[in-house]
Symmetry: C2
Subunit: 448 residues, 2 copies
C-alpha cells in the first residue's frame, strides 16, 4: 500500500483529495509516512501532507524525519499546533525539537505547555547536546527497594502511556540514588509479595549525565546495552538512554568522520544554502590549493633540472598520486582503529611497524614498475633509477606520515579524522615532490 500511495501522491495532491489521503496516511507506519513526505520535492507539498496526519502520528512522523527536513517543516507549523505535537513526544525528542527553534519561537511554543512539562523540556535543554544529558529521556519507571512486585506492577500500569519500550524498572533509595534494576522478565516470574530488594540486580552499565555521547556509543556497543540509566555526579537517577537513540548518535558520528575525511563538515547535511556549504568546504580546498602551489614552487626551484630533462615532468603526476593514495590508506586504517577503540595503546607500535612493512612491499612493487616504465618510455636507465627510487621512498614516507599523523592529532585532542583526509594528502604531495626533485638533482649530471 505504501508503494501505491507513493506513486499516486502527486495525483492526490493535484486533485485536492486530501480527505482520502488522510485516511490512507493513517494506516502507515510513522517511519513509512516520513519516507513518503521526504520523497516530495516541493516544501509546500511536504507541509500539506504533514498537516493531514492524525494527532497521534504527527509527533512520531516528525521525529522520523532527518534533522534538516524536520527544522524546515517545523517552521511551517503554527506555534499552538506545534506545542500540541511536541507535548505528545518523549522528553528527549521534545527537547530536540524545541532546541532547534529560535529563542522567541521556543518561548512561544513552551508558553502553551503545562508548567511541569515546560520545566522538563527546559531542564533537558540545559545539557550540552553532545553529552549523555543531551540524548537521555526523563520517562522511566522507578521503584524503591522495600516495595513489592505488586506495587511495581502498579507503577508500570500507571506509566503505560508515557514510557515506551520498557525493559527495566530502576530501583532508587530515599535520596533518589540509583541502586540497581529489575528486569520485566524477573517481575513476571516473581510472586506479588516478593520484595524489589530480592528481585533487583546491578545495572550492567550506568552513564554519567556529563559523559560525551561518543563515549556513550562505545559503552553501549561494548556492553551490548539496550537501555541504560543516566545519573548525576552524586549517583542520583536522572533519566535513561535507549539503544535506538544511541544508534542515531552513532550514525551521526560516522557521518561526521566521513565528512571530515573528505574535507568538509557534517554541518552541510543540515544546510540547503549553497554559500554556507561552499564556506564549509572552501577552507580545505584553499589549504589544498596552497599545498599544490607550494609543491609547484618546489618544482620551480628545480627548473634548471627540468629544463634540461623535461621528461622528469611526466612523472610528477604519478608520484603525487601514489603518495596521496598510500597516505589515505594508512591514515584511514589508523583512524578507524582509533575510532573503534580497536587498538589498545600497548599495540600501537606494532601497527605502525606493520604499516611500514606493508609500505616496503608496495614501494618495491610500484618503484620497480615505475622504473621500468620510465626506462622503456624515455630510454634512459638513469631516469628509471631516479623515478623508481623516488616512488619507493615517497611511498614509505607517505605511509609513515599517514599512520603517525592521526595518532599525533589525537594526542593534541584534535579529531584524527581531520588528519586522514586533506591534511595528509597535502603533506604527502609536498614531500613526494621534494624527494623526487632532490633525487633527480643528485643524479642530474648522469642524465645529461
Amino acid at each position: 500500500m505504501k508503494d501505491i500511495l507513493a506513486r499516486n501522491l502527486d495525483a492526490f495532491l493535484e486533485e485536492h483529495r486530501e480527505g482520502e489521503l488522510a485516511g490512507l496516511l493513517a494506516e502507515l507506519h510513522p517511519a513509512d509516512a516520513a519516507e513518503l513526505i521526504m520523497g516530495l520535492e516541493e516544501e509546500e507539498d511536504r507541509s500539506v501532507v504533514f498537516s493531514l496526519l492524525t494527532t497521534e502520528m504527527a509527533p512520531q512522523v516528525l521525529m522520523e524525519l532527518p534533522e534538516a527536513e524536520r527544522e524546515d517543516l517545523v517552521q511551517t507549523i503554527p506555534a499552538e499546533q506545534l506545542s500540541r505535537i511536541i507535548s505528545e513526544m518523549d522528553s528527549d525528542d521534545a527537547a530536540d525539537v524545541v532546541g532547534g527553534l529560535d529563542d522567541d519561537e521556543a518561548a512561544e511554543v513552551l508558553g502553551f505547555f503545562k508548567p511541569e512539562e515546560s520545566a522538563e523540556v527546559r531542564r533537558l535543554l540545559l545539557y550540552d547536546e553532545d553529552t549523555a544529558g543531551g540524548i537521555m529521556q526523563l520517562e522511566l519507571v522507578r521503584a524503591k527497594e522495600d516495595e513489592t512486585q505488586q506495587e511495581v506492577v502498579e507503577h508500570i500500569r500507571r506509566a503505560e502511556d508515557e514510557v515506551e519500550g520498557l525493559n527495566y524498572v530502576y530501583v532508587v533509595d530515599r535520596a533518589g540514588r540509583l541502586r540497581g534494576w529489575v528486569t520485566l522478565r524477573r517481575l513476571l516470574l516473581a510472586r506479588p509479595d516478593d520484595l524489589v530488594r530480592d528481585l533487583m540486580s546491578d545495572c550492567e552499565l550506568v552513564i554519567n549525565v556529563h559523559e560525551d555521547q561518543e563515549a556513550v556509543v562505545q559503552k553501549f556497543k561494548k556492553y551490548d546495552s539496550r537501555s541504560s540509566p543516566v545519573v548525576d555526579d552524586q549517583g542520583r537517577l536522572l533519566g535513561r538512554i535507549t539503544v535506538d537513540d544511541v544508534f542515531d548518535v552513532f550514525h551521526e558520528e560516522v557521518d561526521e568522520d566521513f565528512y571530515r575525511m573528505a574535507g568538509t563538515s557534517e554541518e552541510e547535511i543540515y544546510s540547503d544554502s549553497v554559500f554556507k556549504i561552499s564556506r564549509l568546504r572552501l577552507p580545505w580546498l584553499l589549504a589544498n590549493l596552497s599545498g599544490g602551489l607550494v609543491t609547484g614552487y618546489l618544482v620551480w626551484q628545480f627548473k634548471v633540472a627540468l629544463r634540461d630533462v623535461l621528461a622528469l615532468v611526466t612523472f610528477i603526476p604519478a608520484i603525487m598520486a601514489l603518495g596521496g593514495s598510500v597516505g589515505i590508506q594508512s591514515s584511514t586504517i589508523v583512524v578507524r582503529n582509533l575510532a573503534l577503540n580497536r587498538l589498545p595503546s600497548g599495540r600501537m607500535a606494532g601497527m605502525f611497524f606493520k604499516e611500514l612493512r606493508v609500505a616496503l612491499v608496495m614501494g618495491l612493487v610500484c618503484g620497480i614498475g615505475g622504473a621500468l616504465v620510465a626506462k622503456l618510455w624515455h630510454g634512459q636507465a638513469i631516469l628509471g633509477l631516479v623515478v623508481g627510487l623516488s616512488m619507493f621512498s615517497a611511498i614509505i614516507l607517505s605511509s609513515v606520515l599517514g599512520a603517525l599523523t592521526p595518532a599525533f592529532f589525537r594526542r593534541l585532542n584534535i579529531d584524527p579524522a581531520l588528519a586522514a583526509g586533506p591534511f595528509v594528502t597535502m603533506c604527502n604531495d609536498i614531500l613526494g615532490i621534494l624527494l623526487y626533485m632532490g633525487i633527480a638533482t643528485v643524479f642530474l649530471k648522469f642524465m645529461l
Copy 2:
C-alpha cells in the same frame, strides 16, 4: 579494579600467579576481560589469560573479541574444550565461531556436541553470512493464540537460561507461521487466564531470512526495532535478530565503506600477513600509478608548450590537488546519502544541481585566487588567465564527475563507496591535466 589489573597483568604473568589472576578475572565484566586480553602484545599471553577464565565467562569473552583475534585464539584451544565453550553460546554466536574453523576442525568440534545442538548450528551455517539468516539466533519464546497468560509465563520460566534479553513472546499458529507478538509489559499487566489472542499485537517489523544484512540494518534503524522475528518465505517463524547484533553489523558495514573509499578492503582487519595486506591495497595503488602515468603521458603530449613556457609546470600540482579534493568532497556526500537511504530517488536531481552550484562558487573563488597567484608569481597576465580558467573548469568537472560516479556505480550494482575513493581521484587527475594543457595550448601563442 580493571585498571589495576591491566597495569599489573604482565607482572602476574611473569611471576606465574595464575590462581590469583583467575580470581580477579572472574570479577570483571566479560567485555572488560576481553579488552584486557586484547591489550596483550604476545599471542601466547592472550591464550594463557583466556584459559584462566571460568566456564561461564569464556564464551562471553570470546564473543567480545574482534573477529581476527577470536579466530587466532580459537586455534589455541583443544577441540573438546572449545566444543564445551561453544555449546554455552547463543546459536548465532556458536555458528559464527564454528563457521570460522576449517572443515576438519568444525567437524571435530561438532562431534562433541549433543545431536540436536550440532543440528542447530549446522542449520544456521547453511544461511549466507551476509543475510538475516546469518545473524539471527534460534533462541526465542513462542506461544499459541489459544494459550493463557499463565501458560506463557511458564514458557518463559522454562526458557530462563537459554533466551537472553527477552522483550517479546512470539505467537505462531499450528503451522508455525508468525501471527504477532506479546510484549512482556502486556503479559505483566494481564490476568493469568487472559488469552494470548487478546494480548497480542502485530510485530512492527518482520524480517525475511534471505534479506541482505544491510537491509536489516536500515529497517532496524527506520523502525527503531530492538528485536525482530525472522521468517521463511512461507511466513514460518525461524528465529530472531536483536539490536546488539544489528549494531555489530552496522559497524562492519561502515568499516567496509571507509576501507573501500581509502582504496583497500575491510579484509585486512582480519589479516596479520604483510603480503596479504599489500595484495589488497596494491590493485588500487597500481590503478593510481597507471592514472598518474597516463596523466604524465598527456603532459608529455604538450611538451612543446611546456618547453616554451616552463612556468606552466608549476601549476600542475595545484590543479591535481584541487580536482582530487573536490571530487572526494562531492562523491563522499553522494555516497553517504545513498548509504543512509537519505536520498529519495525523486530528489536525486536536486542534489546534483546543488553540488553543481556549490562547485560554481568554489570554482570562482579558487580560480580567481589561482589566477592572481600566477600573475603575481610569473608576471604574465595571460598565464594567470590560463591557470584561473583551468582551475575553475577542473573544479566544475571534478564535482560533476564525483557526484555522478557513485550513482552510476550503484546502477551497475557496484558498491558506490568504491567510486568515492581512488577511482574518482584518478579520473579527475587525468581530466584536470587534459583541461589545463588544452587551455594552455589555445592561449600559447599569446604567452610567447
